[in-house]
């Protein structure tokens, strides 16, 4: 069932996550939705969103908890909206074993009113790097960079 209002979307996303239900999570998205994850992987349809989340939710996110923070809704008129939501992710399993520290993200979602609830046509998630101003590329990947330091 789709969220009744745009502002309900982040809670519905978190509920599907907490239920490890990638099908329910993917059903919140349009058939041709775009989703860019925190490392820039770009899924361009619902099936890809479902597959990737099923994989994560049954492996490294199997024990995770997704807690919703601030939600900001912007009506775009004509049955469209943009929603920003802060999340805290805890309990992520590390490849080497054990549990990783919490991380926080901002998920932006573009939603449309289907007439039977609100559905996402685009979403993008970004990790918050406390104290950083931008990223800096290195030979072995990116790191958070704070030029004021």
């Amino acid at each position: 069932m789709l969220p009744a209002t745009p502002g309900d979307f982040p809670r519905a996303f978190a509920e599907a996550w907490m239920n490890r239900d990638a099908g329910a999570l993917a059903a919140l998205f349009a058939e041709d939705a775009d989703f860019v994850n925190v490392v820039g992987i770009w899924w361009e349809d619902r099936a890809a969103i479902r597959r990737a989340h099923h994989y994560g939710l049954t492996t490294f996110f199997a024990e995770s908890r997704l807690a919703l923070g601030r939600v900001k809704t912007r009506a775009l008129g004509a049955g469209m909206a943009v929603v920003h939501a802060r999340f805290r992710l805890s309990g992520q399993l590390r490849p080497e074993g054990g549990t990783a520290p919490d991380r926080q993200t901002i998920l932006v979602t573009v939603l449309r009113d289907t007439g039977a609830g609100w559905q996402a046509v685009a979403a993008q998630n970004t990790d918050i790097m406390p104290g950083a101003e931008t990223h800096l590329a290195g030979e072995d990947g990116l790191r958070a960079a704070d030029y004021r330091a």
Copy 2:
């Protein structure tokens, strides 16, 4: 001057960047626009977008080049659109001196037709971490994580 079509927005953004013109860059955004940068800093108005970009474009991005890649436009109907754009950023100055390797990002932007061109109401930028599936929090920040390895 605002872009004539949604798909022109990423090029206009890159042009303002290459001209180190934070005022021109910020003018592409609505007065109350949201912008989330690659490390999750969330600016909520045009003045904040201008200040932050002026700072970056006169310091660590002063010598940088922003090259536009793929652009994908989704019409939302009723004078709204979502645009995804890939960028390659080169020439970023490192805090310790010298130039950092290139990095690539995906910028998603929600645009509205003002009648005098298209203006962004929301934008979010995410760095692409090659080979990674997600992030993993550590004691000293985040790192890219690939659980398949």
